[in-house]
Assembly symmetry: C2
Homo-oligomer: 314 residues x 2
C-alpha cells in the first residue's frame, strides 16, 4: 500500500482538479485514478484521469465522480484483495479504515506480486511444506529443512496405519506372495488419481470458480469421471497382467477390481476433502497429493485384501 | 490484445497531444500510456498521461517521450509477456511486428488473467493432467476423464517396474514378512520428500528465481537439506518402531537406513529433474509429484532389499 495518491475535493472544477494534479502529481505513485475526499478524509468517490481529460474543463467534480467505489478495508486479507482486482479489472483500489477514511491505495503491480505469492504459498502447502515468502536460493539449509520436516513426520506416522493393515493381512500375502508385487502400482495409481481431483478442486476454490454449495455437483462429476477413468485403467491392466504376464486369472481380477474401486474412491475423496476443509475454515490446499495419497493408500490396501479373501478364497 | 490505443506524433506539442486525446480517447482501452508512431506506424516511443499532464503545454512530444520502449513481438509467448510485466511493474505494453510497427497493446488486467491461467496450467501438469483452460464445473465428464487418463496409464505402467523389483526379491519378503509392512511408509515418505523439492524448484524456475546455471547450487542445497531431514525422520522412526513396536533391531536399522537414503536420493533427484527437463526444453512442471514418486519408489525398494540382504543376512 502507498499513501502517495492524488486527493481532490468535490467542489473543484475539472480545470482546478487538473491544476491540482499538475502541482502535486509528481510525487504520486499514480495519477491515473484520483480520490475525492471531504475535510475529514472520508472517501466520497473516485475519478479517473481519463474522465478528467475527456470532460469539459468547467464541469464540477461532484457531478462526474464515481461514488460507487469498490474499496478495501485495512483489515481485509490480501487474497480477497487480489480477487477483487481480478473480478473488476481494476488498476488501483483505495484502502479505507472502519470510518471510511482514505488511508492509502493499492495498485495493480502490487497485486501481481500478491497473486504470485499466493500461488507459491498454495503450491508449497500442496506439497506438504510450510509456506515461505523467501526465495529458494536465498533460504538457509536449516530453515528449508524446518519447513519440510513437520509434514513429513505427520505423514510418515500416518503411513503406519497402512503398515498395520499389511501386518493384519500378513497371512494373505504369505499364501499368495504375488499380491505384494501389485501394492506399489495400486497405491501409486490411487494416489495419482486422487491428487488430480483434489488439485482441480483446490484450484477451483482458490479462483472462486467452485464454491461450497457446489459440493454435490463436484461429487457427482468426480463419480462419473472416476468410473470412466477407473474402467479404462482396470481393463488395460487386466489385458497386461493376465495376457502378457500370465498372472492367475483370479489374482488378475482381484488386482483390477481393486484398481477400479480405488480410483473411484480416490477421486471422490479427492474432490470432497478440499471442500470439506474449507467448510471447517481449514485451507483447502492441505488436502493435496501427500495427504490424499496417505488416506487413499490405506483404503486401497483394505479393498485389496478384502477382494483377495473374496476372490482367491483365502 | 487490443488495438484501442492512443497514437501521438512526435512533432505534436503537449497541448496538441492532450487535445488529440480529448478527441479520440473516449474509444480507447487506456489513455494512461500513449504511443508515439511515425507515418509508417513504426513505434518511436511511449509517453504516459502523467508525463503529459505534468509537462508544460508548449513542450514538444519528441523531447519528452521515452524511446527506450519495452515492447512485445507478436510471436512472443504469453508466459514471457507476464514475466516482463512483473519485472518492470508495467500497466501496459505495446505489441509490435517484425518491422517494429505497432499492432496493438496489452494491458495489465489481461496479464493478471494470463498469470492465473499459467499457474493453473502448471498445477494441472504437476498433478499429471493435460492442462485445460476450461473451468472445472463447465467441463464435460469425458473431457475431464480424457485429460487425466494418459498420465495415469503411463504412471501405472511405470509402476510395473516397482512391482518387478518386489517380485525379484520375493524370497527376502517371504523370509522376513514384517519387511512388507514398511513398504508403504518408505514409498510415501520418499515420494513426499521428493515432491517437496521438485515443487520448490519448478516454482523457482517458473518465477525466474532459479536458472539452469544454478543446478549445482540446487544439488548442494538439497543434499544438505535432505541429510538434516532424512536424519530426523530416521531417528524418530527408529525410536518408534524399535522401542514402541518392538521390531527386531536389525529390521529397524534396515528400515531407518533405507528411509534416510531414500529421503536423500528423493530430494536430490527431485531438485535435479526439473532443471534437467528444462535443459532439454521439456516443461519442468512434468517433473512433479507423480513422476518423482514413481521414480523414487523404485529406488527406495532396491535400497530396501539391498539393505535387508546386508543387515539381516538373507
Amino acid at each position: 500500500m502507498t499513501i502517495e495518491y492524488v486527493d481532490l475535493k468535490k467542489e473543484m472544477t475539472v480545470k482546478e482538479a487538473i491544476q491540482h494534479i499538475k502541482r502535486t502529481g509528481v510525487d504520486r505513485e499514480t495519477i491515473n485514478t484520483c480520490y475525492v475526499i471531504n475535510n475529514n478524509r472520508k472517501l466520497e468517490g473516485v475519478i479517473s484521469i481519463r474522465k478528467l481529460i475527456l470532460s469539459d474543463e468547467t464541469e464540477i467534480i461532484k457531478d462526474i465522480l464515481n461514488d460507487d467505489v469498490i474499496s478495501i478495508k485495512t483489515t481485509d486479507d490480501q487474497e480477497n484483495i487480489a480477487q477483487l482486482f481480478k473480478k473488476y479489472d481494476l488498476t488501483a483500489m483505495p484502502v479505507v479504515d472502519n470510518e471510511n477514511r482514505l488511508v492509502g491505495i493499492i495498485t495493480v503491480d502490487d497485486i501481481v506480486d500478491i497473486i504470485e505469492q499466493e500461488n507459491t504459498e498454495d503450491l508449497q502447502k500442496m506439497a506438504a511444506m510450510q509456506p515461505s515468502e523467501e526465495e529458494y536460493l536465498k533460504t538457509g539449509v536449516f530453515k528449508l529443512a524446518g519447513h519440510r520436516i513437520t509434514w513429513l513426520l505427520v505423514l510418515m506416522i500416518s503411513a503406519t496405519f497402512t503398515g498395520n493393515i499389511i501386518k493384519r493381512f500378513e497371512d494373505v500375502l504369505q499364501s499368495v506372495v504375488i499380491l505384494t508385487a501389485f501394492i506399489p502400482m495400486l497405491m501409486d495409481t490411487g494416489g495419482n488419481a486422487g491428487s488430480q481431483s483434489s488439485t482441480l478442486i483446490i484450484r477451483g476454490l482458490a479462483l472462486g470458480e467452485i464454491e461450497m454449495k457446489d459440493v454435490f455437483k463436484v461429487i457427482w462429476k468426480e463419480l462419473r469421471v472416476s468410473i470412466v477413468v477407473g474402467l479404462t485403467l482396470a481393463v488395460v491392466n487386466f489385458l497386461r497382467i493376465y495376457y502378457l504376464e500370465n498372472v492367475d486369472v483370479m489374482v488378475s481380477l482381484t488386482v483390477c477390481l481393486t484398481l477400479f474401486m480405488t480410483v473411484v474412491l480416490a477421486k471422490v475423496v479427492g474432490g470432497l476433502l478440499p471442500i470439506a476443509a474449507k467448510s471447517v475454515k481449514l485451507d483447502p490446499a492441505i488436502m493435496a497429493s501427500p495427504l490424499i495419497t496417505t488416506i487413499v493408500d490405506a483404503f486401497a490396501l483394505v479393498i485389496y485384501f478384502r477382494m483377495a479373501t473374496l476372490f482367491i478364497g483365502l
